[in-house]
Amino acid sequence: MIRFRNERTSLTNKAMPVILFLCAATSILTTVGIVYTLLSETIRFFTIVPLSDFLTQSRWNPLMAPKSFGIWPLISGTLLITFIACIVALPIGLAAAIYLSEYAPRAVRKIIKPILEVLAGVPTIVYGYFALTFMTPLLRSMIPNLPIFNALSAGIVVGIMIIPMVSSLSEDAMLAVPRSLRDGAYALGATRFEAVLKIVLPAGLSGVISAFVLAFSRAIGETMIVTVAAGATPKLTLNPLDSIQTMTAYIVQVSLGDTPHGSVEYGTIFAVGMTLFVITLILNIAAKRLSLRFREEY
């Protein structure tokens, strides 16, 4: 009986690492799947539509004749939303991080942190609703002739959505700055703000910038808010009062309609998806590099 047990446990001991490795390998398969599907369909798309058209034309109108496939209107729409979001979220998020890590009493932190976490957990479709039914009417009462679907409203709400992300990541970066550096500043008579400005921020800078880059990338990939509130008219513009379309919203628009599988229109999903994937991947890798650098210093 005892022999039997031993044999069984030695079998599990041989099998478990393999089974567990297979679990971990699904993540590699996922990546391979993403790259393969995007790449193969994108390559097929570019055999029909020349890459030069995609990169040089300034009009995006793949669904109706006369068709044109210039990606720039979608990129400008995406960047416009992202810039508005960053103008809202970066200063507010950083200020909140400074308050939470340097000023806030423990009791206040204990209340504020969970609330920011709730804000981060609200589904994006809920923010979309908020943009369309609260932010847009509010802006329209201040700015006459603002179209119902506009970049400004969606951008501001995307900004509100990424505030918790900016603040919690920047706060981590600032908390990683050793206490002794702050104490040194206080011993020299610095006020809290002077310690933040001249010691804590410079020391945690790469972490803070990494937080900014991640937030930027998150705003680029945000889908539902812009689909609901920013419109569906691809336009090469940097005017926040215009109705625009982002890359993500375009992908949703096509998949909502019944575009036949295998057509050129269907291929655009993958070409746009590939562009989105590459941009966010580069940003995420850059953020990772930055945050590793700041960890090495201490």
Partner: protein, 292 residues
Amino acid sequence: MNQWTTADDHKRVLMRRRIDFMLRLLFLLCTSIGIVALAVLIVSIVVDGFRYIRPELFLNYPSRRAAQAGMKSAIVGSIYMLLMMAPISFVFGVGAAIYLEEYAKKNRATRFIQLNISTLAGVPSIVYGILGLTIFVRFFALERSLISGTLTMTLLVLPVIIVSAQEAIKAVPKIRRDASFALGADKWQTVSRAVLPSAMPGILTGVILAMSRAIGETAPLVMIGALTYISFLPSSLKDSFSVMPIQIFNWISRPQEEFHSLAAAGIMVLLALLLLMNFSAILLRNKFQKHI
């Protein structure tokens, strides 16, 4: 004032303190913007949606008439998806985390897997939708079905679960493993009976938080084609389905005011479910912590 300081110095110090105080207020103000935004969001939703919180919302199928429209199929679809997604992503996520923390050698392959997981966590959710559409809906010919949606969302939440489970396993003190080995346990006995029970509260919290993220996700399911006019409950894995965020999205997309209010009511149900899940995460954690 003494011989080393002048009235000027005194003034300068006062000024610096005043700047510090003003900025402290400014930072506090910025911090409260997030809180105010959350409050405004919730109030505006409750004000809009309150009158549509009625039995029909839970008992009726979607309808072209707002007065009769409900989200029964969407609520049931969300719950089905949750019930299937939770065990699958738990097994794969925790399995991967155990491998990386307890078994993997610290070599290039492991570092590559680790880097890959953190990269996957940053991929926009809509890209997972494209993946699901190509792999599950088309390649495996699972059609626009409950199982396609579930598998797509599982892939989406796996990186999050793996990372949080790794954190939980890392936090288990080494002394527990040593004690187990000292009692003659082998590797798997140690992992399953000494490490995992101790890491379980953290793991479960991570899983539930990942699930609540998945329940609110819209974009990938729009991609794989979850439908909005479902007037039946899915009875098999290959049935078409709807989920709450999709139904809400559909109602928001309509121009009529009544449907916007209906969407607000739907959002209230969704947020209530999320709150319930987070609350159960806290309860579970407390319960488990007492046992250890």
